[in-house]
Symmetry: C3
Subunit: 268 residues, 3 copies
């Protein structure tokens, strides 16, 4: 299906079915991720206590694991949630915030990738490539750069190695399952001036994957496209980060089929 | 006293005395609950460490217990805070976020209700009725529905059983102490599209109860009416959730006697 | 150097070098502190897990320790982070939120002051003076009052005793290293009606100190002046706390040399 039609259809499905998205995420963005999901039409759930993880994850439609302020007990909860989601067959989105910045973060992400089946790994280039095996070349990667061809190859290699979709945010986003590669050019630099916008994209990917029949790749691409498009729309309303964040939430709530038809910029 | 006059008087009292409201609440809404209390004219305090709970709760005017992201150590802090509040004779507002969704949540709320004297139990219908004894019928309850007569009866039964005020948010709010029953029709659907608005109402109830001489029932009804009225006012300023939240905070800060006289919609 | 010129230069340096500011702060303000730092042009990092503290603090340009929702394990992380920052020679800003309200808070701050070399102690008068030794007179101090001469003397005494800069927010801010004393008259009462504005000032001080060659006193004064000035600018755009917060973030992002030249109000 053509990606504009597909994205409009998936958005409508999110708004219609209001999927429950369970977030085990960092303290900084809990509020903004919840508001982003609500604006989209999804239903956020936050819970991290081992005593209720299996029951909670067992009742939702998608799971987000975000290591932004991780500590040991939260990692245990993430692993149990991931395994529960795997048993249930719901999508698991992993956001490796700050991976590469400390050994503890990198190793925490590796444990999740080892012990759980992750559907989508979503981060910026430096975070994602910090997880690449020794066979993947990732020199000089930065989220502020377009991914050059070498990096697209690295992302494809990682997707094949990890057996999951690798989705990298940047000036042009790169989303691949190892065979197909999509590029999303929507988005705006002000999105990097508000905390939690990247984490909110991971939550948005979860909401779209929750309503996807099976194709998580196209669901992820649609989520990136719609989210970036709303960033572009918001930047036309507000040119400073405080008012931009407000406008961005408003756009996630109000943008629909006609804006998608006009502005979505996805290529394969 | 007529409820409009009563509500205006209580609001003025909150703004004049700036009661200290101690919140042991969930991570998602800590920021928004604090801002809601500040906009109202109250003073928020957040503290959850056992080492300081008795001293902190001992110095405030009301206590909010909210289980939205509860874990074991926080439950212990809530129980100690609740007992300290009881000794001191200040109101305790319990928000059973997600009760019914997991056994751990339901049991955590039950422990608080068993071990502490709760003044007001405030939640949506599914949360509140998850706590009903076997004698109370609660089939098919959803926060998006008006409470039918059967549900008003159930709420009254719970208030009698628990010996506290039961306050249920919905299209029409229902607040009862088991004998008197109030209905509040203020409010707006956009209030369900911003995270923390429900939790902020629990904090607002705490602020109003903090300045009530003794009648926590009318204080709770006034808090519901004023809060919902501000939601309705904000929806006239902003019709999308990002800008709605901003306008709602502004209205909590600026609305007063004349708006109450014109718009408050409370019936007994 | 004249303070207006100095402040403009420091702001430009923050925007140019985007210093990494590591915050171990309270749950309430994590989101707003991150957004304040991003709006300024700095880069926020949040991490509190002992397993990664040394590596994380070792890679940043400044450290903020804020005890607003402290518990024992977080205190240990703060102490380790403070010692790591000291070894590395980066500035440490301590925000003693609620010191004086409970023994646990006061003692936690004292431990940090005893075991780490703090560059700047930033709080309101009641918080700061709760930490004064018995030789310092601090009767009747309140953040809503201008600091009278007696309080300036007390602040100077504390700065000498503690060997750090003491920076007190109030109607007129007072910043001293024990010998020089600066007064900042920028600011607006609405800044006290939004949660996290004080904590965000501590983060702003950290960003300015991160780019100061060595003079943390003038860096702190510049941070106070610029931050208060943005509060004043925002109050001209918005006169209620919800929209004020949005405007304030916008002003932190957009204000520059010409506004500083016109509005900065600093005296020594």
């Amino acid at each position: 299906m053509e990606m504009k039609t597909h994205t409009a259809k998936m958005l409508a499905q999110v708004r219609k079915s209001a999927p429950l998205v369970h977030n085990i995420t960092n303290y900084v963005v809990m509020n903004s991720s919840a508001n982003i999901l609500l604006a989209l039409g999804a239903s956020p759930v936050m819970a991290h206590c081992l005593a209720e993880i299996e029951e909670m994850t067992g009742s939702v439609n998608a799971l987000v694991l975000n290591i932004g302020t991780i500590e040991e007990s939260w990692l245990e909860a993430m692993l149990l949630a991931g395994k529960t989601a795997n048993k249930k067959g719901i999508p698991v989105i992993l956001d490796p915030v700050g991976s590469g910045a400390t050994t503890f973060r990198t190793e925490s992400v590796r444990r999740i990738l080892d012990e759980c089946c992750v559907s989508v790994l979503r981060g910026n280039a430096s975070e994602v490539f910090s997880l690449a095996g020794s066979g993947v070349k990732t020199r000089g990667v930065d989220s502020s750069l377009s991914l050059a061809d070498a990096h697209v190859d690295a992302a494809r290699g990682m997707a094949m190695d990890l057996g999951c979709i690798v989705a990298i945010s940047g000036t042009a986003d790169c989303i691949t399952d190892g065979s197909r590669v999509f590029s999303v050019k929507n988005g705006h630099p002000l999105m990097t001036k508000v905390t939690g916008i990247g984490c909110g994209l991971s939550a948005t990917v979860a909401a779209f994957c929750a309503v996807a029949e099976k194709d998580f790749l196209e669901a992820t691409v649609s989520a990136f496209g719609f989210y970036g498009m709303c960033g572009g729309m918001a930047a036309k309303i507000a040119d400073k980060p405080g008012s931009f964040e407000v406008a961005f939430i408003d756009c996630l709530y109000s943008a629909g089929e006609s804006e998608i038809a006009e502005m979505l910029d996805i290529s394969e």
